[in-house]
Symmetry: C2
Subunit: 353 residues, 2 copies
């Protein structure tokens, strides 16, 4: 779990006070990985505290984070600095936060990022790393994973060294998120909750976090009376609690199938979850009905027919990725999930999307 | 915040796997501070993993923890061991958990525990310390304070080094708590929530945790349909979320006045809160009504007339302690609390108890 958190509108201004005591030397810079949508946005960038050789690296979040991208960033940091960075600070959504976590790990662990995809493979503590979300829903700010697309699979680096050492939750940073992205990323949280609360792995710890995240999503997406500020505050907390919920349980059918879409087609995680979840009435009847009501209320249109031109080889690839995520299926369906979750069933579902 | 947590019935059995990698040497023992109600209870004590010079110290929780008690324990540990302990493991309720946190801090910080009562006075990181609650409600397992009665005041050691490095949440450990204690300690959590949710310091972070803890308390104390196991699980999570809520806000009138009772009369924290809260309709009308319903439902009798034989000097002492807790009053009433919270008002309230 994340040992230190600050929360509050404007708390981003505390960043210098937070990181300054963590500077190791004047040759050990802080590296800020920042979503490139903020390039030129002085409201945010002028408040990033730069000293000595600290650097901002602007990074596009248009694609899901890749192991190769992590390896390149790490090589670049090692080649251009005399010492290891004092810290990696991720400022952005799930993509940037996951990159920041992975880069911090790979600066102190040999080999390639893809070597560490899995559970508890990381040997050495990561460089100090700070997460500052600028969009809410993924739970990346609190999770003990960093989900990366590698040469062979889309899978997280899950370890005790993955979570951020410090998180800054400043809901004001989310004020300019475009509506579609706000919705799709928020639904990542909503879908987490449905999958966690309806899973066989559920315990009272995950349940209490999942229920709170669900309640907050209902307020944010179904209650017109909230002010913009309250809505931003509550969605940031929903993301936090949703992330805590799945840290101690597991996600389910939507995430398993969405990973397949993402691996083959590069579909972004938030929208991919929505495209899949829209067809999962069989597994999550109440959740899917609520989701459809939310879409209607916010006039959200999902892309249609994204699998229309795929051939059998493509379907096989997606099905392989989805079926490889065994813990997700076991959580969703139970120990004997292989009896009902067949390749034909998944193909039929993908064909609807 | 606590960086590592395990949750689950029977998770106490994982204790050896959790602490073994933290052993510094064969001369650096783990010290288990255990509530003396468990002395001779082999169901629990036989599962405490002892190796090398590890020791169990049984400690009475009949009195609130004192700074002098911390100093004595620390001296004893330093005199009887060649090296600093590898870790301090507290197994008990709020009293034992607070002692464990304070001992871990004072093993690496010079002077007396009373020197560190206040905010952020601790200089050095504490010895590794683990918290294992055996009763639910105080939130001591998650808080960044350890509330101690010192020579001059009852006040916490609040610091970034106070929280446990590891918490084991095993609701099964609470199965034999006597009913009155279960109720009074659970009400500590319920009263936290009322004070936090009705406070002026509230933000969306504290609110979301406070609301969840409140909902769980309502399930546990107002819903007869829960199984004993579910009730234990949910109350343990209520305590956790309630502790998180006040970590980022503040408590209020009940805690301020209860500290006065506790300082003068040694009243235990849980029952002291209840005795005070029972008379706070003016400040928390809905919360007090619900509390009285819970008392009725569980046939709980509060002690009456505990202030009946006190003289003016006694009242002054309690009022001094209560009024010294300025942040609690500011949270409860607002910036101008001194206009309405007079010594006469507090005396009249204490006289009812």
């Amino acid at each position: 779990m994340v040992p230190r958190v600050v929360f509050g509108r404007g708390s981003f201004n505390q960043l210098n006070d937070i990181i300054a005591p963590k500077r190791l030397s004047s040759h050990a810079p802080f590296i800020f990985l920042v979503d490139d949508v903020f390039k030129g946005n002085v409201w945010l960038t002028s408040r990033i505290p730069l000293s000595y050789q600290d650097k901002i690296l602007y990074i596009s979040a248009n694609e899901e984070p890749k192991t190769s991208q992590v390896d390149e960033l790490v090589e670049q940091l090692i080649l251009t600095n005399k010492e290891l960075p004092s810290g990696i600070i991720g400022i952005g959504g799930g993509t940037i936060l996951d990159l920041a976590k992975a880069v911090a790990i790979m600066l102190t662990n040999t080999g390639n990022a893809s070597d560490y995809q899995g559970w508890d493979l990381v040997k050495n503590p990561a460089v100090y790393h700070v997460g500052i979300p600028t969009i809410s829903g993924t739970g990346a700010e609190v999770s003990r994973t960093t989900v990366l697309t590698g040469p062979e699979r889309k899978l997280g680096i899950n370890s005790d060294y993955t979570p951020f050492d410090q998180v800054v939750l400043d809901p004001e940073l989310t004020k300019d998120v475009p509506k579609d992205q706000w919705f799709f990323t928020g639904m990542d949280c909503f879908i987490h909750c449905i999958e966690s609360l309806n899973g066989t792995f559920l315990n009272a710890f995950s349940q209490s976090y999942g229920e709170k995240a669900y309640d907050l999503c209902m307020e944010v997406f179904m209650d017109d009376a909230l002010s913009a500020e309250d809505s931003q505050d509550k969605l940031m907390m929903a993301s936090w609690h949703g992330g805590m919920s799945i840290a101690y349980s597991q996600v389910g059918v939507a995430h398993a199938m969405s990973y397949g879409l993402s691996y083959l087609l590069g579909t972004k995680h938030g929208i991919g979850n929505c495209i899949v979840f829209n067809h999962l009435e069989e597994f999550y009847p109440k959740g899917v009905t609520t989701f459809k009501n939310m879409m209607r209320l916010h006039k959200i249109e999902l892309p249609q027919g994204i699998c229309a031109s795929l051939d059998d080889h493509h379907f096989d690839t997606m099905i392989d990725v989805a079926l490889s995520l065994e813990p997700l299926w076991e959580n969703a369906i139970g120990k004997h999930w292989k009896k009902t979750i067949t390749r034909d069933k998944l193909k039929a579902l993908y064909q609807k999307m």
